[in-house]
Structures are given as C-alpha cells and as structure tokens.
Symmetry: C2
Subunit: 335 residues, 2 copies
DNA sequence: GTGAAAGCGCTAACAC
DNA sequence: GTGTTAGCGCTTTCAC
C-alpha cells in the first residue's frame, strides 16, 4: 500500500514526471497515459504527500488560528465560521489558544509560522504589541485580526462596533431610569473590552449619569472571575441598580452572583450582557444582550485571508460588523 | 532576514551539516563552533522550516482532531484538554468538524492524513464504519477515539460510562415516582447516544416502568432539533411527566420547548440532562445533569496518543471515565 | 569535530 | 507527449 509517486510511475510504466503530471493534472499527458497512471495510483493506493508538495510549492494549504480560548463560545463560533469557508478551498486549520496571554500568543504564532501556515487569523491579546505579527507580514504571509485591532499595525482586521454596541446597551438601561450602572469586565487591555468600556462611559455621560469608577469592576477572563467581579459590585452598600457585562463569561458569572445573593432581575438589579448565547434565552428572565454576528465574523476573516492569498496587495482593510441590541426581559420596561 | 540553514552556515563559516548539528543539538560540535553558529542564526533571524524537517524525519509534530462540531461545548472542552497536554510536547492541533456526517468525517481524515499528521484523535460519527481509520492505523499512525467506540475496530478509545450515567439519571427520575419518562436524543447511530438510550431502557425496565417507544424522540444534533423533538413529546395528550435529554444541545432545546409551553419544572415536567454546562446552574430551577469529565477526556486521549507516539505497541486500550449525577432542582424531590 | 553527499517526495523547467 | 534533471530545506550517514 501507500507508496510514492515513483511507485505509481513504475506501476504504470512511465517516468516519475509523467506520473506527476497525470496526477496533478498540469502539463500535457495523453489521455491514455493519464488513465493508466490513474489506475496504477488507485491500485497501489497512492496518497500524495502534502508535506513534500509544500516544500516545493511553498504553500501548505493550512491557516493558523489563534484564539483566546476555544472553550469560549464566541471564539468557537468564529473558528467554525473560518473553518467553513476555508474548507471549501481545501484549507485546514491549525488551532492554538493564547489564554489572553501575550507570551503564549507569541509562542503560538511562532509555532504556526514554523509550520509554514499560508496565513494567520489571530485574536490579539494585546492592543499595542504586534511585533510578532509584523514579522509574519514582512515575510509576505497574510494575517487577519479577528475581533480586535492592534494600534500601529497595518493589517487587515474584522471587528464589531463595540463602542456603539455597548453605548446602545447602557443607553437602554439609562432610558429605563437607571443611574447607577455597574460594569463587569475582563482586562481593558483587551481592546474589544476597552472599547466596550468606552461605550459604557460615553452612554453614561450622554445620559447625564455619574461615571463612578468604583462601579467598574475589572479582572480576569473566566466565569469565576465574572462572578467575583460582580459580587464586588453587588456587595456594596450602594449597590448599582443595573449591570452591564462586557462578554458572555462575565454575563454568566454575574448571573451566578445575582442568583447567589437571591436578587431579583430586573427588580433588584437589571442586566445587559454582550454576546448572545443560546442559554441567555433559557434563563428567567431571558437576558437582554448585545448580539454579535459571530459566524459572520469568522467567515469575513476567512474571506479576507483568501483574497490576500489570491494576491490582493491592497492597503489593509478594517471591517466593522454591526451588533444588535436584543431586548428581552432582564432590564424591565417593555419585556 | 529569514534565510535557510545554508545562510547560517555561510555566516558562521562552517558547513551546512555542522550548522544543522549545532542548531538541532545532535552529534558532535565543539562548544566554540556551536556558539558561533547560534550567534549567526540569531543574527540573520534564522527560523527552521518545519516542513522540510518533516519531510526528512517523517514526523510533523501535528495531531489531527476531528470532532462533530467545535461549537458544541462538549467538543470544545475536549479539544482544549487535548491541546493542553499535546502543546507541552510541542505538538500543534489540526482541527476539523465532521457535523456528525460520515462522508465529511472521511474527507476530514483524508485531508489530515495527507498532511502527515503524526496521530489522530477522532470522535467517530458512525459506530460501525471504521475503514478510513483502519487505513491510517495500518500505516502505523496512532488513532485514538474520543467519546465513542467503533465496533470491530481494534483501536484505543477514551469513553465515558454512558450506560451507567443514563441509567442513574433515569433511575433518579423513577425513584422520584416518574413512570412516563420521555427521551430526547439525536441519532442512535451515534454510539454514545445509543448507549445512553440503552441505559434509559435498562433503568426503565428495572423500575418496572413501561418502555414506550412513542416516548423516545430522536432526530438531529442541534438545539433546534432538540426543541422540535421535545415538543413532539410535550404536545402529546399523554405527555410524559419527565424528560431525559441525551446531551447538552438536546437539553437546551428541550428547555426552550418547556418554556415555550409555559410548563413548570419540575411540577409539570421534570428534566435530567446529559452534560454539565455552566448555564445549567443559571436557569431556574438549576438542571439536574449527568456530568462528564470533559477536559479529562481530552487529556486522556492526548496522553494515549503520546504513549503510542513514544512507541507503545501494546494492544488497544479502552478507557471508560466515570460520569457523575449532579442533583439540582429540575426533578423535584430533594432540591 | 567537521565536511561532503545522499536523499525525504514532490514540482517544474528543459530537453527530446 | 514524455523523460531527464535540478532542486525545495533539512537530517543523517560516512569519510576525513
């Protein structure tokens, strides 16, 4: 079984080059020969060795994907979107998790680079350190940022309108009469989070509500952290009347904290989250959220990568996809 | 920048072979030479080309992972577990989704095989067709099955005790007085699902409850399908008093259906699900579930793969990890 | 200790 | 049309 293209050639009684041509379908080969070669190939169960091909062609037909954590449904959804479009073109994904740590991200990028990926989709954990990616770009390999830009790095990026989304969410809360609105978030160093915090502040200011830093509770990127951070807010004597959570982990954590304290939503505390996951409609009341076009985000990244791979040398494009406020029952008012 | 090992050699004034030895750290190289080569390498920014190395060594330091759908938290968790242990040994994951379709799975496996992955972790979508995997094994590349076995295929597998888990869940329901217990599941062709259905039947029989096939609602592997399948059961005039859902998608779908019909849990209908996701504690009442050791499952698969990669030629091992019934409030009784 | 040389399996000129 | 030949960048004998 197995065997190389040489075995096929021998079996078919032609030269190795002819076998290669017949199999890869380039150059001239007589139909008869092609047929013979094809038969020989299947008869010995020939499988082209993509590694060898890559060494020659320089293309591996693989795309590296670096996300914070594939267990986060947001990243999983985006990865799925990427995979779906890339797969149609014969690409395979090399996946790595950064855990929102720049060091890990660098190592992941390095490992993928060494594996000669044709392109890279990355969710950068830092908004101002893109040296590792700049190096890749310099080699002529396309990189497309997903969800977050990097200041000073000229590179394609597919993002969402975080500021507008957060603003709309907080405005919704303010319009319902809330004045003390707390924010539960992970690191502001994560650009998307930073932008959402900005949007929160802007909305607060626009509503003439006090912007009290004591109501901004920031920490790590896990559900447990979200829980802890929400508790810090809810345990205050002057508890905020509403919470805005910057992503689905924070929403889950905050909801857990609210349950733990036996607070009612929205009577005791209203809640708006960023990210629309299925479970947000299953809890009672269903959560009002800022929905992101997750799959589309991934697909757009893949499309951009494909364009670059096909030779597009135009200036970097930044695409901002729109978010949507989905009003459900967690803020009171109409619901 | 960039450059090959030849450039390093020239820069260091040694032969290409010596440069290779110094860099890869095998064979004899004088400390002085090694130092010189290393310096030359960093000075020109040398990056080994893993593709070329792979062509020679035959090992790519990549592992293919085929799951049903990375958006399913169960698979995402397992993938994360795999990645965590494999990464320590310098491996990178090539990820593919099968969507529980054997054709897609075959194509994915083929694509990964062509890319010369050193090993494969797959969640097989069929329990009786393992020809594509047998072919890989014959080539001497290790394959470890995740979550589901394949009948007649001698291969390592890391599974969970689906039957016992389902049995315990349904027994729990029966012990609370339920006699008409419905099951919401995806395809019984998916072995883990099939085993859970078996466990359900066994528990029913043991409890002396009627095993009514009309109460077994089977279909596709999505939340929407779970919703539809649960509705089919709940819309019956002789509605079951309890539902057992075979995985997290079915649980989410069933819960949606229950909400839609404004039924109370557990008064109108009790619920036990398979898979313990964070949101199951956030809904009201929190859902009683059969918890699977998801991350451990992934880690065990990776460990087995690593053992095989290190030369273990022993007979195939089947590891069954234990599940745990987590009693919460969705079945009434003590809660 | 170091260098020369032979491939790994494939693509792609370039001849014939 | 088909065969010959030269690599892709690296590892690895085998001499010296």
């Amino acid at each position: 079984m197995a065997g190389t293209i040489r075995d096929v050639a021998r079996e078919a009684g032609v030269s190795q080059a002819t076998a290669a041509r017949a199999l890869a379908g380039y150059g001239y080969v007589s139909p008869a020969t092609r047929h013979r070669v094809r038969k020989a190939a299947t008869s010995i169960g020939y499988r082209p060795n993509v590694v060898a091909r890559s060494l020659v062609s320089g293309a591996t037909k693989t795309i590296g994907v670096v996300v914070g954590d594939i267990e986060n449904p947001f990243f999983a959804g985006a990865a799925r979107g990427i995979a779906d479009v890339l797969e149609r073109d014969g690409y395979t994904l090399l996946l790595a998790n950064s855990d929102e740590d720049l060091g890990r991200e660098r190592r992941a990028v390095e490992a993928l680079r060494a594996r000669q990926v044709d392109g890279l989709a990355v969710v950068p954990s830092s908004g101002d350190d893109g040296a590792h990616l700049a190096a890749i770009l310099r080699e002529g390999r396309p990189v497309v940022l997903l969800d977050r830009p990097i200041a000073g790095l000229a590179v394609d990026a597919v993002l969402v309108d975080n500021r507008a989304g957060a603003e709309r969410a907080v405005h919704h809360l303010a319009s319902l009469g809330h004045r003390r609105i707390g924010l539960v978030g992970d690191s502001p160093g994560i650009v998307s989070t930073g932008e959402r915090i900005d949007g929160y502040r802007t909305a607060l200011a626009a509503a003439g509500a006090p912007v009290d830093d004591a109501l901004v509770s920031l920490g790590g990127s896990t559900i447990d952290e979200g829980h802890r951070l929400a508790r810090a807010l809810l345990d205050r004597p002057d508890r905020p009347s509403a919470l805005f959570t910057v992503n689905n982990f924070m929403t889950a954590g905050a909801l857990g904290a609210i349950r733990e304290l036996n607070l009612r939503i929205p009577e005791d505390v209203a809640l708006v989250g960023f990210d629309d996951l299925d479970w947000t409609t299953l809890v009672d009341p269903p959560i009002t959220v800022v929905a992101q076009p997750v799959a589309e985000l991934g697909r757009a990244v893949a499309e951009r990568l494909l364009e670059r791979l096909r030779g597009d040398l135009g200036p970097p494009q930044e695409l901002r996809l729109r978010t949507r406020l989905v009003v459900r029952g967690s803020c009171g008012g109409r619901a």
